[in-house]
């Protein structure tokens, strides 16, 4: 009876119980991490009750506003980033003292590198980017929301459900030890009968379906909701990269869903897709996984490239150099990213011809990527460069990402892969593209668009320190791994035997401490900014002398984004309007605005998906079936319920919008000298006029 209810969940599965029964450093570390969740949960509940925030919280959770959904993605990602950074620091600390065995048990360390990778890719980088895309893209194309606002909420719900499964594994049971790539047969049911791989499969499959839907939603948004005159070749670069990322999501997520489903069938029902025996073939998993995994790299890095384009032109006060080139290069990268997956396993024993073909295809990607970097440099040429935090990220990106590209070209060579595959060199390489590429882009993007949504800037000084900390921490933590990789140290190794590796590992450990500090500085920056928000207000909405449409709205942006949908006649529409003096001019006619009302379907789907996942992991079949039927019933109910809209009367819109326009026309703006001072209220005197 109890087995039917609890499946294979027992008292001992709970991590806290394990720590009480068998206290040692590993169980204590995991138990304190596990304890943070209930403790944190109680504190949050107390805070919500104390501040009477339950109602606003409910408003947020049921919101279909793209700005609020984007914010929720980013909050989710920051929480997960905390976990990821701590895991990284633990691993680096363990390896710093890892000569012949560190302080962590092998099983614990193996879970750490699995959760670190899974977390950073699926629950940090992707939600961060989805958050940014959600916030920025509708504003940049002059739309009021995304094409399918309710579907957007469901995507968020599925991502959160994946995150829930991933986090709950910290408290109940364990996570996979098979690495973020989860290769069978190591994750098959014979070798790994526990719950770990099931958590892994379900967490990434559920959030992966959410990502597919996000891809559909944003590609349709960008195809169909562009405002009048916003032709493709007038779109801001960030929107272009968001479009490419969305297309990649549509085509790259299904292989992940498929290989997770197949591995699940192997594990749950005894199929033979990837088993050792009876004609199963683990190479199929590896192929499918990387058919997703390689485009995934570009799913992450393309929007970051988009941010870099925006930085280069905005913070040097000039047009983007080589717009057409950059767009073409972005598309090239997107297409080529589907043709190179095999370079993740050059050493699997295929023929030299196959390896050579995929090696050369991989090299081809270096061409458009190189072009983009040259284009951004050329954008700075002839500009007036302001060294604000985003520009520091851009400069760090130039130097460090280029080194990452260099090691990428090295690894593109099958010959060298025979030596460097599975080594620390590889670890150094992908951190070298993901931290200076993706993370720098995300952090810079948050710095740029934060005032747009919340109405005040982030404090500049702390932001700059944060940027430097990330760069220095990265260099110290990961550059040594290039050397240890060349010296033959493998990845995923809890300990090592060669004393020559120790100094490098110690430096790397120190670097990881700085990265931890850098994370704290993000929180500190936000905290100090919130406390000083009065001084940092930018109500006019254009703190950086921006160039695209999103800056042509007040900050914080009203829920309807644009009182009247703008018309676009060229690239950099808002910069053009400012130069011509047509910005902030009164609009004649206002219409009623119809917006989709809040719904709780996304929330329900999140609960159902979490229940489905948890039920499957622990073999609580009743829970899984009930959740699945519940989700279907929800979908059917949804089809029958009226889709509520609410109307914002034209008069109300007119009042708010005209007041803002009038104030902007009458106000005196600031030059770029005062960009980071209190005087910057978001009204810019165009740089083209005032720059020396």
């Amino acid at each position: 009876m109890l087995d039917a209810i609890f499946g294979r969940l027992t008292w001992d599965s709970i991590i806290l119980v394990q720590a009480v029964e068998n206290p040692n450093i590993n169980t204590i570390i995991t138990a304190s991490a596990a304890a943070m969740m209930p403790v944190g949960g109680v504190m949050i509940v107390a805070l919500l009750t104390w501040m009477k925030w339950w109602k606003p919280l409910f408003e947020w959770l049921t919101s279909v506003d793209h700005k609020k959904i984007g914010t929720m993605y980013i909050i989710f990602a920051v929480i997960m980033l905390f976990r990821g950074v701590v895991e990284g620091m633990l691993m680096r600390a363990n390896q710093a003292v890892g000569l012949d065995g560190g302080f962590l048990s092998s099983n614990h360390f193996n879970q750490l590198f699995t959760t670190h990778g899974t977390n950073m890719i699926f629950f940090v980088a992707m939600p961060f980017l989805f958050g940014l895309i959600n916030i920025v893209v509708p504003l940049q194309i002059g739309a009021r929301d995304v094409a399918f606002p309710r579907l957007n909420q469901i995507s968020l719900g599925l991502t959160a459900a994946g995150g829930f499964l991933f986090m709950i594994s910290l408290m109940v049971g364990e996570f996979s030890t098979g690495g973020w790539t989860g290769y069978p047969s190591f994750t098959g049911r014979l070798v790994n009968p526990g719950v770990g791989p099931d958590y892994y499969i379900l967490a990434i499959a559920i959030s992966g379906i959410g990502s597919t839907l996000t891809g559909v939603n944003f590609s349709v948004t960008i195809y169909k909701l562009r405002t009048a005159g916003m032709s493709f070749m007038r779109m801001p670069l960030f929107t272009w990269t968001a479009l490419c990322t969305s297309i990649l999501l549509i085509f790259a997520m299904p292989p992940l869903t498929a290989c997770c489903a197949m591995l699940g069938l192997d594990r749950f029902l005894g199929f033979h897709f990837f088993t050792n025996d009876m004609g199963g073939n683990l190479m199929n998993f590896i192929n499918l996984f990387w058919m997703f995994g390689h485009p995934e790299v570009y799913i992450l890095v393309l929007p970051a490239f988009g941010v870099m384009s925006e930085i280069a032109s905005t913070y040097s006060g000039k047009r983007l150099y080589g717009y057409t080139s950059i767009v073409a290069a972005t598309m090239c990268i997107a297409v080529l990213s589907f043709t190179v997956w095999l370079h993740h396993f050059f050493t699997m024993g295929q023929s030299a011809t196959v390896n050579a073909a995929f090696g050369v295809a991989t090299l081809l990607i270096a061409i458009p990527t190189g072009v983009k970097i040259y284009d951004w440099l050329a954008t700075l040429w002839g500009g007036r460069i302001r060294f604000t935090a985003p520009m520091i990220y851009l400069c760090g990106f130039f130097v460090l990402f280029t080194i990452g590209g260099l090691s990428g070209v090295v690894l593109a060579s099958p010959t060298l892969d025979y030596q460097l595959h599975n080594s620390q060199f590889l670890v150094a390489h992908f951190h070298n593209v993901i931290i200076p590429g993706v993370l720098f882009g995300i952090l810079a993007g948050i710095h740029i668009w934060f005032p747009k949504i919340y109405g005040f800037r982030l404090v500049e000084g702390l932001s700059r320190i944060t940027a430097f900390l990330w760069a220095i921490g990265f260099i110290l933590a990961f550059m040594p791994l290039y050397q240890t990789g060349l010296m033959g140290m493998t990845r995923r190794t809890v300990a090592y035997e060669d004393p020559a590796l120790v100094p490098w590992m110690v430096v790397s450990g120190i670097g990881s401490l700085i990265l931890g500090l850098a994370f704290l500085f993000i929180l500190l920056t936000i905290l100090v900014s919130v406390l000083n928000r009065k001084k940092l207000m930018v109500p006019f909405g254009d703190p950086w002398d921006g160039r695209s449409l999103e800056w042509a709205t007040p900050a914080p942006t009203p829920e309807w984004n644009f009182a009247v949908l703008p018309k676009v006649e060229c690239r950099d529409a808002f910069a053009d309007a400012k130069a011509k003096g047509t910005a902030y001019q009164p609009i004649g006619k206002y219409d009623d605005i119809e917006m989709p009302a809040n719904t709780y379907y996304g929330f329900i789907i999140m609960v159902m998906a979490s229940g489905l996942g948890f039920g499957l992991v622990w073999h609580m079949w009743w829970l899984a079936i009930a959740s699945l039927l519940g989700a279907i019933a929800t979908a059917i109910t949804y089809a029958f319920m009226p889709q509520k809209q609410y109307i914002i009367p034209a008069a109300e819109v007119r009042e708010i919008d005209e007041a803002w326009r009038r104030a902007a026309r009458e106000g005196t703006g600031v030059t770029r000298d005062d960009e980071c001072k209190e005087a910057n209220k978001g009204l810019a005197i165009p740089a083209t006029i005032t720059n020396p």
């Binding site: 597919t212 169909k224 549509i250 299904p254 292989p255 069938l265 029902l269 033979h272 089809a639 029958f640």
Partner: protein
Amino acid sequence: MSFSIRKSLYPGLNLGEGHGDDHLEAETSVFGFWVFMMSDLVTFGMFFAVFATTVPLACCPGPKELFNLGSVALQTAFLLASSLTSGMAILTLKQQHASRSASTKKLIFWLLLTVLLGCGFLYREISDFIAMAAAGGPPTRSGYLSALWSLVGLHGLHVTGGLVWCLVIVAGILVRGVDLRWKLTLLRWAVFWHFLDVVWIAIFSFVFLGGLL
């Protein structure tokens, strides 16, 4: 919401007469569903790819022992016929005239006929699965059989979903009448249903015919 569509509307928007600006909403909705179908197609592609790499093992029954081509042909006939009737349903939608109730009845007739044919397909498919398992070819027997069952089963699961969806639409039309939302749902469902036909043709040719030749 307003949309920035100016030209090149999707030609399959059969919304009937006098729909005002509804086609603008339909355009986004149906286009979005097409995009989703592309994604689903890749999923099927992956199952196809895995199937293509597996070979029947000597120790276990293969296509010759397991496939019942007569039944598969019957399934194909059912599914193709259901595609035709679903097309008739959409045409009815397009030709909706003033005599609303008559055309609604016709619409429901075609939809229910589609469901019936779909059920026929599923019935044959499930019988075949049972027969295969009885002949020593359950999916747990070998990699080839796993891939076969999953590919065909994934399609069957889609068909089941399509049938449930169709019944929901019929129920919805009975409750609320043929309003814009049900029309849009119908248009998307029709895309889905034809898509399943296309996938089945591929399964029929590569898996069943290819396996026997």
